[in-house]
Amino acid sequence: MFRGLIHSIKEAFFQIFRNKVMSFVSILSISAMLMILGVFFFLTVNVNNMTENIKGEFDTIEVFLEDYTTKADAQEIARTLSTLGEVESIEYVDRDQAMEEFRERWGDKAYLLDTLSDNPLPNSLRIKLSGLEGGSLVAEVAKTTIGVEDVRYYQNEVNKVLSISEAIQKVTFVMILFLIVVSIVVVSSTIKLAVMSREAEINIMKYVGATNWFVRGPMLIEGMLIGAISAGIALGAISYAYMRVSEFFGDEALKLFSSNLVEADFMITNLAWIFMALGISIGAVGSIISMRRFLKV
């Protein structure tokens, strides 16, 4: 058994070098597939992340209070509003706290706020909604309440973003499935060519009394090795691309969508597992599928 495994590994390396062209083509096609998959993966994860951020940010209604309202007044208003449906919680945010949050959001550009002599922000109520549907009613009621200066609620914008991101996710999901199928087909036909060129050899092996695993083992490992190599190449290429993109586009994304691109480290670690698993199984499945009919002697 152990000797069989060693034989398989040795033979697999030998075959990869012997069928250089075939191995090269297989590696090329698998890594191309994985790269495209990777692009879609990055896209989905980022869209997802963005949507979550937007949801988190916009399922709240901010009610800005007139300067003359006291904290007691604010609590009174909060009590009124909390009787409405879909209000999960109401938090009172005084102007100092609001300023503090503002500084945080501006990060390393917060020094710009130092020029302000006075805190221009009003006290406010932050209403957390349990769902987005009833938001507009709450906003309407809040607007007509005495002591309320202004209400900020972007329902239409939120809905638009949500439907776009949903569409993007659906499309990506279909694309990913499609790509996996395509890559298995491509790989198994590439390996089939390799196997066909060795049909005579396999036949002879069978005549001499080789077990199916003696024949299959090396090819399986060959497929898996090719998959792993492809995964490595694809991972390298796509990680580099992602790091560059987040370097150049990260700030833009922050401004446009008020959401950072997902951390490169996080993405790459996860993608490494996905690529390895996918590459190796595509290689293995591909070689098993293409070998089956040659083992029937």
Partner: protein, 227 residues
Amino acid sequence: MIRFENVTKRYDDITAIDGVSVDIADGDFVFLVGPSGAGKSTFIKLISKELSPDSGRIFVGGQDITRLSRRRIPELRRQMGMVFQDFRLLPGKTVYQNVAFAMEVVHSTRRTIKRTVPQVLSIMGIADKADQLPQTLSQGEQQRVAIARAVVNNPKLLIADEPTGNLDPDTAWEIMKLLSQINRRGTTVVMVTHAKDIVDRMGRRVIAIDGGHIVRDSQEGEYGYDV
């Protein structure tokens, strides 16, 4: 060594082997003759379990192989060596590797392989060709390599399917001498052939097949009729 009990094998509407019973003893040397399409190939494919009979029973080395599971076919094949008209050598491997390959398949140790292969090559008279690729050899030499591969694991049975079919008469006779020598060491040899002169000259047992039946079975026989 081999025993057929009322064996029948059909392909769709053709009956290739029709109720054949025959016994081939250990150490026997048997020629299988008959016109093309008579059922000779089917006969040996039944022995190597490339095909299974539709009815009847087949024993090889005392073992009933009629209902042998697919997983145990390799075990059966390791008891026999096979030689073909077209040699079936691996073009990418040297003579040495082609023979060693058969031993790797049965998981022989590297040391055993290193010791055994040169011995067998020298018995076959091709020790000096060990590092050459098969396609650089003459046809007769290639067949010697194929025979070396077939016997390197010391099989009890050697099946040769027209081993002299591609060879000129002198070379063919050299190959026959090798096969006789292998037979003298105790290996049962079953050889399919069309070569009348060889059969007549060897004077060994001849089983003639025609239309799926054994039409003649004679010890020290002759080819019998012209094809």
